[in-house]
Symmetry: C2
Subunit: 195 residues, 2 copies
C-alpha cells in the first residue's frame, strides 16, 4: 500500500472490532474519542443518519487537530423497513429487533469520516444482510449469552446468531462488523498522496 | 433449533475453521476423518468437483457407519476463469493464484455430504467473492506471514489479505470460510426429523 507514514492517524472509536481491523492496516495509529450522543434529526433516513453521527463525532476534534493528523470517525446503523435500528436498550427491545430481522433482508450502513486540518470528508458503505427465519429460542439464547446492547440492530455477524442465522450478504463483510476496511484504506491512500 | 440429540454426528474434517463453526451448532459431535486424495476427473467443472470430493470423503465410512450416525464431509474449492484453484503447492503458485484473483470476481463453492446408514445426500453452496486490485507487496507479505498452503485459492477471507482486499461478497460468508453453517443446520434438522 502506498501509505504515507508521516501522517498521524487518530481512530476516534472505542469499538474493539474497529481497532482489530485497523491493526491489519500497516500504519501506526492512536485511539482518542469524545463521548457523542447518537441522536439525529427525525427526518433523516438511511445513510444520512450514519453520516450525520460520523460528522458529529468529528466535531470536537476540529479545534485541536494538527496539520499532520487524520482523525477517523465511524458510525454503523441498521436500516430496516424504513426505520433505523440503533443499539437496543433492554432485553425486550433486543428481542423485538431480532424478531423483526428474522426471515428478511436489512441494510447495514457504516459512515466513515476523515477529518484533516483543512477538510472533512465522509463516505458511506451499505451491505445487504439476509437472515433466515430464526427461532425465538435462538434469539433468547443469544441475548442471554452474548451482549446485544452495544450493537446496532442487536446482533454481530461474527457471533453465533449471525453465523447460524445469516444466509446471505451482498457487499462488504467488514462493513457489517462495523468498519469497511478496504474503502477506508483507499481514502487514507488518497489523503496520504495529497502531500 | 429442532435437532434430535439422539443422532451421533461425526464431522469428517480436520479443518479447525469447520470445527469452530460446528461448535456453534448446539449439538455434540466427534471428529474422525480418513485421508482422501483431492483428485477428480478432468472433465468436471465448478460445483461438480467439490461434490465429487465431498462424496469421496464419505466413502470410507460406508462400511462402518451405524444406524444412529450422521457423517458430515465437506470440500471447498475456488472456481475462477473456468478453472479450479486448489491449495497452492509452492510460494510461487500461491502468488500466481492471488495475482489471478486480484481485481476480479471468483466463486467459492463448498459441497457438504451427509451420510446416514441408508442414504447419502450432498448439497453445494456458492458465494461470489470480489477482490479489488491488490499489490504484489501485499501478496508477498501475506504469503510470508500467513499460511496459504492449506487454503483453496491460497487465501482465507478472515485473514489480512481477505479483510483488506475483498470488497464484496454475494452469498454466505461462512461458506467462504469453508462451511455453509446455516444450510448445514437445515439439513441436520431434516435428517433429525426423519424418525
Amino acid at each position: 500500500m502506498n501509505l504515507n507514514k508521516n501522517k498521524e492517524i487518530i481512530l476516534a472509536s472505542n469499538s474493539p472490532r474497529r481497532k482489530f481491523f485497523f491493526e491489519l492496516i500497516d500504519l501506526p495509529f492512536t485511539i482518542k474519542s469524545f463521548e457523542t450522543k447518537e441522536i439525529y434529526p427525525k427526518d433523516l433516513k438511511g445513510a444520512s443518519i450514519a453520516r450525520y453521527i460520523a460528522t458529529k463525532k468529528a466535531s470536537p476534534f476540529k479545534k485541536i487537530i494538527k496539520k499532520n493528523q487524520i482523525v477517523i470517525t465511524a458510525d454503523t446503523i441498521v436500516w430496516h423497513q424504513n426505520k433505523c435500528l440503533g443499539k437496543p436498550k433492554s432485553k425486550n427491545q433486543a428481542k423485538e429487533m431480532l424478531k423483526s430481522l428474522s426471515g428478511k433482508t436489512h441494510e447495514v450502513i457504516t459512515a466513515v469520516g476523515f477529518l484533516t486540518f483543512d477538510n472533512f470528508k465522509c463516505i458511506d458503505v451499505t451491505t445487504k444482510v439476509t437472515f433466515k427465519e430464526i427461532s425465538e429460542s435462538l434469539i433468547e439464547d443469544y441475548i442471554k449469552e452474548q451482549n446485544p446492547f452495544d450493537k446496532a440492530g442487536g446482533y454481530a455477524i461474527q457471533e453465533s446468531i449471525g453465523i447460524l442465522g445469516i444466509t446471505k450478504i451482498v457487499g462488504s463483510y467488514s462493513n457489517v462488523v462495523g468498519f469497511p476496511v478496504s474503502e477506508v484504506v483507499d481514502e487514507i491512500e488518497k489523503l496520504s498522496s495529497n502531500k
